[in-house]
């Protein structure tokens, strides 16, 4: 991904800044199929391909599977969410 210009101190955040900031954090990833994956975000690229650790798979809120490592192909991703409201804190 292309480098980003540093805007004023934390006053503005681009999606690229958000994506950088969530590495190493617990996240929820929702796929187009509606399945949720919860785990630690290890790595992320410009296609939104995702590598996760300690991954749990939830279908309709029920835990279905656990994966020590998981790789998700980016085209399937509907959204990525962190539990903490970091953007709101920055606002």
């Amino acid at each position: 991904m292309s480098g980003t210009e540093k805007a004023g101190s934390g006053t503005t955040k681009t999606p690229a800044d958000f994506l950088k900031s969530i590495r190493g954090r617990p996240v929820v990833v929702k796929l187009n199929s509606g399945v949720d994956y919860r785990g630690i975000l290890a790595c992320l690229d410009g296609y939104m391909n995702i590598a996760m650790e300690q991954t749990e798979e939830y279908v309709n809120g029920q835990l279905k599977n656990k994966y020590g490592d998981a790789f998700i192909r980016g085209n399937n991703v509907l959204y990525i969410s962190t539990s903490k409201r970091t953007l709101a804190e920055g606002a």
């Binding site: 790595c43 599977n65 656990k66 994966y67 998981a70 085209n75």
Partner: protein, 99 residues
């Protein structure tokens, strides 16, 4: 194109190891990863497909289908995970009172 674009996960680590793959539409396959490319086309050997419940495509049953040497088309790949390090959990589909 100058330089090979790095992927988030180096699948070379999983070559000749067991992986499980979920595909769009609900199919699920495990096998030994033999090869891959940038588009995430995968070559799996001794592949086993876990057949789905006819009533619910998101459920898999204990039934399997041996497929042998297969190519998984990259555009259909949703998730890749090593089988080593996968935890077995209690069967979430089992009804408590039996079905």
């Amino acid at each position: 194109m100058s330089g090979r674009k790095e992927t988030v996960l180096d699948l070379a680590k999983f070559v000749d190891k067991g992986v499980q793959v979920k595909l769009t539409g609900g199919r699920q396959v495990t096998g030994t990863l033999k090869g891959y490319d940038q588009l995430l086309n995968l070559v799996l050997d001794e592949a086993v497909e876990f057949l789905r419940d006819p009533d619910d495509p998101l459920k898999t049953t204990d039934q399997t289908r041996n497929l042998g040497l297969i190519v998984c088309r990259g555009t259909a790949v949703m998730l890749v995970s090593p089988t080593d390090g996968t935890d077995e959990i209690a069967n979430p589909f089992m009804q408590p009172d039996g079905s």
